[in-house]
Amino acid sequence: MTVATGLAVATEGLTKRFRSGQLAVDGIDLRVPHGAVYGFLGPNGSGKTTTIRMLLGLLRPTAGTASLLGQPMPQGAALALPRVGALVEGPAFHPYLSGWHNLMRLDAADRTARASAAEDRVRGALDRVGLAAAAGKRYRHYSLGMRQRLGIAAALLRPRELLVLDEPTNGLDPQGTREVRGLLVELAGAGTTVVLSSHLLSEVEQVCTHVGVMHRGRLVAQDTLAGLHARGASRAVVGTPRPAVAAAVLDRLGLADVVVHPPGATAELGDHAPQDVVAALVHADVPVTEFRVSGAGLEDLFVSLTGEGFDVNG
């Protein structure tokens, strides 16, 4: 058994160089285990969408391989893609057709879908994203949020083993964002593997089990959320002439990874409030000469990995 078959999504040295010469994706090795909710992070223009297009067989890789649900892509598209729901680079529908007819069109295009249950599938998908009331409205009259919902409904037309969602909450209001997040949690809970791309860390942080970070076409980090948290975790740094005692206090408070590091001690802050830690130290008669919190979580790690916030890579 190859590595690929044990994973929902796997790539080996996946590379895309466009005819313009631009190297959009540069030898990435994605590993998405079955059942994972994989946050695919990176600033705009970092190569996420190009990668997703290659995974779905829309673009041919310049080099490297990609496999989706154990099928090589793009060769295995006919076998893999009916089991995959996708939202790629925003929703796209026929403007003069209603939401209902747009979904019927996509359902009719699926040769594995039986006609007899088409209306049930479309109704179910529209219900799921809260568009039932707007089903008969032409797509051109949909708001940005409704369009995004229809795109998600299309991905959910059939039960899927894998969902690949590119920026699914784009254009949604906070209420809609929460609904989509709830939907993803529900789907993931039922065992669906989800690949969720975003340029917003906060969006994926709450739902993901795994994270991959793209920067200028390269996958600069890939880990479980917990593993990444550990790398980006805030640490309490205590300066004191009595490091051993300080370390004992930190340990007693339940802080993880306590390290004696003269002249002081450090530990992972975790959920503890800094002021409580200081109070405990003082209470234990530890002479505190310095106290600070270093590193401020994933956001800082994300920025340090990508070297920028929300700027577009040229």
């Binding site: 297009r53 779905l56 067989g57 829309l58 673009l59 041919r60 598209a77 006919a78 076998l79 893609l81 009916p82 089991r83 995959v84 996708a86 790629v88 680079e89 925003g90 929703p91 796209a92 529908f93 026929h94 403007p95 003069y96 057709l97 007819h101 019927m104 069109r105 996509l106 009719a108 295009a109 699926d110 040769r111 594995t112 879908a113 039986r114 006609a115 007899s116 249950a117 049930d120 599938r121 179910g124 299309a154 059939r158 039960p159 083993e161």
Partner: protein, 294 residues
């Protein structure tokens, strides 16, 4: 009841079942019908149909009001004797430009329109096999072409029969045909022109795979049609005339001879079929490996 029966029985559970890799019965037909719905459900195309249908009405009314002119060509001169000739006259005047415009609009839209809207990527990840998409698009173009031709013929025949009646159907050979035979000849003309225009549509389908701009693809096809007709007028390039897509179009007039020699339509039919085969294959070859980045 065997397990196979259970698995095949349609029911509410079906919507919840995970997709099977197998093909559902009638899947191609269903996709094709959705393509027709896309073409025939679009208001723009109905507006185009109105323009096509207005020409036979215009001809019928003008001839009714003013009578036949002295310098009229055969089909126009025959209108007052048999209303079916309104249909033939309308097809004759719409063939060089109006019908190619209609075909260009639809064929240019075929792949480029879906790419332009972004719906192409969602069709492909559904997944729709690319060869299947090319065939469905070609089928859509063919049926639209047939509909456009028949629309002109039906409106022309109806208006003509209402205003001029269904009298003697005179052939180019000078003989007379019965009403049913005349109607049969008109149907044959429609069939032949549909085939010719589908050849043009296949060229448009190919152009449509080269761009994401449906209007650009349509205008390119229309320009090619006009250039082909111009070249066909230049005796200096007579050697290439048989290869021009529009060269055999006017052969439909052969249908108006008596006795009927269907073989006279052979070269035109062969040319159109060759255009369909070559350019559908070219469209597939180009599209099957194309990067879809729209």
């Amino acid at each position: 009841m065997s397990t196979a029966d259970v698995a095949l029985a349609p029911g509410p559970d079906e919507a919840a079942a995970l997709p099977e890799p197998g093909r559902a019965p009638g899947a191609f037909g269903r996709f094709f019908r959705s393509e027709l719905w896309l073409i025939f459900g679009r208001r723009r195309n109905w507006a185009g149909g109105l323009v096509l249908a207005s020409v036979p009405l215009l001809i019928a009314v003008v001839v009714k009001v003013s009578g036949s002119g002295g310098g009229d060509t055969f089909v126009f001169a025959e209108i007052t004797h048999n209303g079916l000739f309104v249909a033939l006259a309308a097809l004759t005047v719409e063939l060089p430009f109006f019908l190619p415009i209609a075909v260009s609009a639809i064929a240019g839209d075929a792949v480029a329109g879906e790419a332009n809207l972004g719906t192409l990527r969602y069709l492909l990840v559904t997944p729709v096999d690319r060869a299947r998409l090319v065939l469905v698009k070609l089928g859509g173009i063919t049926l639209f072409t047939l509909a456009a031709t028949v629309l002109i013929a039906v409106v022309g025949a109806a208006a003509g029969l209402a205003l001029f009646g269904g009298g003697t159907f005179t052939t180019l050979s000078g003989t007379s045909l019965g009403f049913a035979a005349g109607l049969g000849r008109l149907a044959l003309v429609c069939g032949y022109l549909t085939l010719c225009l589908t050849g043009l549509g296949a060229v448009g389908l190919f152009i449509s795979t080269l761009t994401e701009q449906p209007i650009g693809a349509g205008i390119t096809l229309l320009a090619l049609t006009v250039v082909s007709q111009i070249l066909d007028q230049l005796s200096q390039v007579a050697a290439i005339h048989p290869y021009l897509p529009t060269h055999f179009w006017l052969d439909y007039a052969e249908v108006l001879r008596d006795p009927l020699d269907v073989g006279a339509l052979g070269p035109g039919a062969a040319s159109a079929l060759a255009y369909v085969a070559i350019f559908t294959a070219a469209a597939w070859a180009r599209f099957s490996t194309a990067d879809v980045s729209a």
